[in-house]
Symmetry: C2
Subunit: 353 residues, 2 copies
Amino acid sequence: MQMEPSTRFVALAEGAFGPITSKTANGCIRYSPERVVAILDSTRVGQTAQSVLGFGGEIPVLATLDEAMALGPTALLVGVAPTGGQLPAPWRETIAEALRRGLDVWSGLHYFLGDDPVLMEAAAEGEARIFDLRRPPKDLGVAAGRVRDVAASVVLTVGSDCNIGKMTSQVQLRDALRERGERVAFAATGQTGILVEGWGIAVDAVIADFISGASERLVLQAAANADIVLVEGQGSIIHPSYSGVTYGLLHGSLPHAMVLCHQPSRKSINKQEWVKIPPLSELIEMHEYVVRPLRPAKVIAIALNTFDLSDEEARAAIAAAEAETGLPATDVVRYDPTPVVDAILDFHRERAG
Amino acid sequence: MQMEPSTRFVALAEGAFGPITSKTANGCIRYSPERVVAILDSTRVGQTAQSVLGFGGEIPVLATLDEAMALGPTALLVGVAPTGGQLPAPWRETIAEALRRGLDVWSGLHYFLGDDPVLMEAAAEGEARIFDLRRPPKDLGVAAGRVRDVAASVVLTVGSDCNIGKMTSQVQLRDALRERGERVAFAATGQTGILVEGWGIAVDAVIADFISGASERLVLQAAANADIVLVEGQGSIIHPSYSGVTYGLLHGSLPHAMVLCHQPSRKSINKQEWVKIPPLSELIEMHEYVVRPLRPAKVIAIALNTFDLSDEEARAAIAAAEAETGLPATDVVRYDPTPVVDAILDFHRERAG
């Protein structure tokens, strides 16, 4: 699964193009906008990536694949990861049509398009390929603590909820650390991260027994050519639906340090309002507590997602987070990521001696 | 997947028949010894279930399927769950031979025998069936906290490690509670429990994102006709390989109370000696801490596995556990389970009001 430089996507996000809902498309638009020729969402026709997301420039939102074909895409990206990962029925026809027209299809759904007989037939007809980003390697096993021998500093993003910047923060931090001349690797653990980085394992899609094994393998692979490994976190240790993946990743990757991601405006878990998000200081304590029996690690910085706050509100939230936790904090996407970058570098240099 | 009353197993445990290693066979031998006609392990020929395990009576250990056929089995049970769940190569031929001879095959491996072309052909040839205990339901989704509406008292076994009695304890407690006239259900979460109970979901074999969803579904199903639901725990919250499954089950089943299982002679995680097992009081604190953000629950009793201790040592370990934790403790298999049964009933009655 290696993306060609010439790949140009039309991103399918029907009825769901927005800052929160079209996570996979958004990751691609943010980090490789030149790869995206159009977004399909008939409910937002006439808008652009910029007007809907606040980034991505003039990439147009169109209603049909027909219109998008004029812009020369080479592939269709299934740009949304719906709850449960299943394939919404009406999308199936659009995907089949794209394949028949010769577009490759990239998908992050749990439902593997490459196993769907109708889509396989459409792919054969159009001589197109299907890439299922979440398809796990065939030879995974359980974790064995081998990650303890890794010399690189392993930094994991953790968070108060899903979809608040654990992937995005790591990509920003990767770029900033690279600019500083560091040998840094990004270990992608979700379909969007894999799409952005070009490799990785979707740890939420492996057999449950192998979550830690997949995490371990990823870290070992990323550490082979890096001094700092930034691991993309998943879910939240308090998320009633996804905490198993979160803990498996935490205990399988055994980070030396953690960066806590949070969206200040979010007070409870998205779609599970009965689970209140504790204060940052408590979240820090919880994360340090649950890794301690395996390998003690500290939260060393806070990455806030302030996209829904005014500049003034965002700066106040950052100041409040710093005051509450005593740790450097910022929104690494919106503002200069230096405070978090410095925290990682200081930690790494002290650890490396 | 429903077992017929006439099912008679030959249990394949080649090179691994023992108290720790042949977990799946042992569960079947303990709870339905009348179903097992022989065990295959060429390294222990001449021994019996009783002499190797301390239970199971005169079930003989034989070297070959040929010899076992004389005892009239209707099925082969793959009686070991090796690390990673893969199929040891030499077993494949024995399984194929059993199928060709018309024996059904029951397996708890992650590797689904029913997907193996050679074994499928053998099954067709012998008109036999393959039952993969770990095969997950097709329509699983993520958890949504629906388990909070369950009226029954949900009691989960948790533990300091794998394979120390989380399943066995629940089966003993189920029987004891049933004798007291309680409407009790056992929710099996692993291949051995499913084999013993006849239904369940192997939560370690589902897609990682669906661990909690599978746990939720199990509890809802078990609670439909019961006032007390005993959920089989998995792994340990400090297990570097399996903690993801443990946490997913914990947060998906949302127990009202927990029973902590421990083997006093075990000081570190099996095969991961670098992870030390904390004192019981600390383990209790940890479990109560990690469920608190979702639904507070207490550890209400201790179930010790003392099979490798003398009677005197076992009684001393039980007394020490009670003194350390202030909770009722016993070995519910070896001794009268009343202390733990009473703790569950007291909790249930107080909760039910």
